[in-house]
C-alpha cells in the first residue's frame, strides 16, 4: 500500500502539466489578461488542474501550469490574492491571503 503522504510527495515532485490558455470571452479585465479568467458555467461545469474558483467573486482563475498546494494566484476581476490549499475533500481550493 502506498502512503498517501509519500504519494503526494511524488506528485509534488513530478513535472507540472502546461496549458495553452485561450480567450473564452471573459470581458471584465483588460484584453491582455483575459485568458487568465473565465466564467463559472454552473452545476455542469468542472475545473481543470490549472483552474481554481475565486471565493470572493466566483470567477474561475486560470494558470498556464497545473496548480498545486502552496501556489499563489491573483483574481484580477475582484483584486484578490489567493493561495491554493488542499481542502477537506482532498481537492485543491483557493483561499484569500490578505
Amino acid at each position: 500500500m502506498v502512503d498517501p503522504l509519500e504519494q503526494q510527495a511524488v506528485e509534488d515532485e513530478a513535472p507540472r502539466q502546461r496549458f495553452l490558455l485561450e480567450d473564452t470571452g471573459f470581458d471584465e479585465v483588460p484584453v491582455r489578461y483575459r485568458r487568465f479568467y473565465r466564467k463559472w458555467r454552473g452545476p455542469g461545469d468542472s475545473l481543470g488542474p490549472n483552474e481554481a474558483i475565486c471565493p470572493v467573486c466566483k470567477v474561475v482563475i486560470r494558470s498556464t501550469r497545473e496548480l498545486r498546494a502552496g501556489d499563489r494566484v491573483y483574481c484580477m476581476p475582484c483584486m484578490s490574492r489567493l493561495v491554493i490549499v488542499r481542502g477537506e475533500d482532498g481537492g485543491l481550493e483557493a483561499r484569500v491571503a490578505y
Binding site: V31, Y33, S63, M76, P77, C78, V96
Partner: protein
C-alpha cells in the same frame, strides 16, 4: 486581429505590482471598455424592450427606486472616502468606484424613465425602504467622521456584497433590458466587493485592535441592508426558500474576515 502584446503570466507579479495594476485608472478604463462600449445606458441599442404587465411594472419601479437609494449611498460614500483614503493608489481606485456608482445611478434612472416615471425624486422618496434610508444616513456619518475602516466595511462589504447578490438574483428573472443593465452593474460590483474585503483584511492583519470596532458596526448596520434587500426579493417574487441565498455572499465575506 489577435492580441499583439506579450501575454504576461499575471500570477507571477509581486503583490505590490499587482495592487498597483488593479487599482489604476488605466486598468479600470480598459476593463469597463470591454463590457460597456457600444451600450448606451448599459443597453445594446438593438435590444427590444418587452411590455410589462401593470403589476409587474409597478413592482419593478419600486425595486429600481430602492436600487437608486443604494447607489446614491454608494456614490456619496465613495466620493467622501476619496478624501480620507490612506494613500494615493487607493484614492485613484476610489475615483473609479465613484464613476461606477454615478453610472449605476444614471442607468437606473434611465430605466425608470423608460418605464414611464417622470418625477424621479418624488417616486424614489415615496418608495424608498426606511431601513435603506437609515443605512445611507449612518454610512455618510461614518465617512464624515473619517472612520476609514468602519466606512469601508459598511459600504464595500455590507452594501456592495448584498447588492452583488440581489442584482444577480434579479438578473435571472428580469426582463431583457433590466437584465442587461444589471449584468453590467454586477461586473463593476466585483471590483468593489473585492476591494472592500481585501483592504479591510489587510488592515485587520496589521491592526487587530480595529476588530472590535468593525464588529460593533456590523451589529449595528448589517440588518438594515439585509432587511431592505429581503423586501426587494419579496417584491421580485423570489420564493422564501431561495432568500437565505441573499446573505450568503455577505456572510461568506465576513466569515473570511473573522466575523463569523
Amino acid at each position: 486581429m489577435s492580441e499583439a502584446l506579450p501575454l504576461p503570466e499575471v500570477h507571477g507579479l509581486a503583490h505590490e505590482a499587482f495592487l498597483e495594476e488593479v487599482h489604476s485608472f488605466e486598468f479600470w478604463f480598459q476593463s469597463v471598455s470591454g463590457y460597456l462600449a457600444g451600450r448606451p445606458y448599459g443597453q445594446r441599442p438593438d435590444l427590444v424592450d418587452e411590455p410589462l404587465a401593470p403589476d409587474r411594472r409597478e413592482r419593478l419601479v419600486t425595486v429600481l427606486c430602492n436600487y437608486c437609494v443604494g447607489e446614491t449611498a454608494a456614490l456619496e460614500g465613495a466620493s467622501g472616502l476619496v478624501a480620507i483614503a490612506p494613500d494615493r493608489l487607493i484614492q485613484v481606485f476610489l475615483s473609479t468606484q465613484v464613476v461606477d456608482e454615478g453610472r449605476h445611478l444614471e442607468v437606473l434612472l434611465h430605466r425608470l424613465r423608460q418605464l414611464g416615471v417622470t418625477d424621479m425624486e418624488a417616486e424614489i422618496a415615496k418608495r424608498a425602504s426606511p431601513a435603506l434610508v437609515h443605512f445611507k444616513r449612518r454610512l455618510l456619518e461614518l465617512v464624515a467622521s473619517r472612520d476609514w475602516e468602519a466606512a469601508i466595511f459598511s459600504q464595500n462589504v455590507i452594501l456592495e456584497a448584498m447588492e452583488f447578490t440581489v442584482f444577480q438574483s434579479h438578473a435571472r428573472t428580469a426582463d431583457p433590458v433590466t437584465r442587461e443593465l444589471l449584468q453590467g452593474i454586477i461586473k463593476d460590483e466585483r471590483r468593489h466587493i473585492g476591494f472592500g474585503e481585501n483592504e479591510l483584511g489587510r488592515r485587520l492583519r496589521v491592526s487587530p485592535h480595529i476588530r472590535a470596532r468593525i464588529g460593533e458596526v456590523k451589529r449595528e448596520l448589517d440588518h438594515f441592508v439585509l432587511d431592505s434587500f429581503e423586501e426587494t426579493l419579496r417584491e421580485l417574487g423570489v420564493p422564501a426558500s431561495e432568500r437565505p441565498e441573499l446573505g450568503r455572499s455577505y456572510l461568506d465575506a465576513v466569515a473570511r474576515l473573522g466575523f463569523a
